[in-house]
Amino acid sequence: MNLKQLIIAFLSPRNPAAYTEAAIAQRLNASQMLDRRCTVDEVSDALRALHKMKMVDLQIDPMDNSAVWQATEEGIKRWVLEGRVTVV
């Protein structure tokens, strides 16, 4: 599975929970489901690509203006179609 698929596998089952890029990167690395460790920048790029595909939604935390991401309905549909692989 590639990084984008794994991000969807992390966010979809947790919807509507929203996470920062750093939190997503940390959880993906802890899962060891990637062939190598990913960086926050790589996760950020993948999230932006997924955002263009309408698979994730970007929100801004009003408390500290940080960006948080959550899966969209479209992302969840894709996750189900791909077998509901889950990053625990």
Binding site: N15, A30, T86, V88
Partner: protein, 223 residues
């Protein structure tokens, strides 16, 4: 968290291949069929080649029935547990969102979604019984709130009905007073009301006919 590392032939295959193998096992595929498919993949051939060369030997033999049996009791078993984890995560996410909204968060609000994530992290280590208890408590809380809302609504309806009744009575009294003033000036009405030869029922009947005409008969017939 999924931090398992498998060193067997199947365990060293890429995640996507292992995942598809697990799905095929779950869907009831037979061993021979699985082995044919698995050994035909270029990823499998590459991994077997790499395993052999790391020992300074030729390629390892193909994945066999024993490898598959071992996988069923290790990697496949873990994968099944992970599938249950997916369902558990969904339940915990729903519960966390319920808690976040019950605490006053707007269901579609960013802060609520962030709080949901943080509550999820806190609940991650809770066992099934604790999660079930928490769910029950929230359901009971909501039921209690709904019951209280129903009582408040019923009280509000009663108050409105009472107010309406009082308004109707005031209107009736005002209308009756106006009628009295009007008919007190009528000689016919006055004669009927003061006729000593008529009983009370007869007076009522005749005055009713005088004052209301056909409407009086209609009221009497219950129309």
């Amino acid at each position: 968290m999924n931090t398992r590392c498998y060193r067997s032939k199947i365990g060293r295959l890429p995640f996507a291949v292992r995942n598809e193998l697990n799905e095929r096992i779950r869907d009831g595929a037979q061993g021979a069929e699985l082995l044919d498919w698995l050994n035909g993949l270029k990823e499998t051939k590459r991994i077997l080649r790499e395993m052999g060369s790391s020992r300074g030997a030729g390629p390892s033999g193909p994945v066999n029935a024993q490898n598959l049996t071992d996988w069923r009791s290790t990697g496949y078993k873990d994968w099944l547990e992970d599938q249950n984890d997916a369902d558990r995560i969904r339940r915990v996410a729903e519960l966390s969102h319920t808690i976040a909204t019950a605490a006053g968060g707007s269901a579609a609000g960013v802060a609520c979604n962030i709080a949901t994530a943080k509550i999820m992290d806190a609940l991650q280590s809770a066992d099934e019984d604790q999660i079930a208890d928490l769910s029950k408590a929230l359901v009971a809380l909501r039921s209690g709130e709904n019951a209280a809302q129903k009582v408040a609504l019923a009280e509000e309806k009663n108050a409105l009905a009472k107010e309406q009744l009082e308004l109707s009575r005031a209107k009736f009294e005002r209308d009756t007073t106006r009628l009295f003033i009007k008919w007190a000036q009528s000689k016919d009405a006055l004669a009927l009301a003061t006729d000593k030869h008529l009983g009370s029922d007869e007076k009522t009947e005749r005055l009713g006919r005088l004052m209301f005409g056909d409407l009086w008969e209609g009221a009497e017939d219950g129309k």
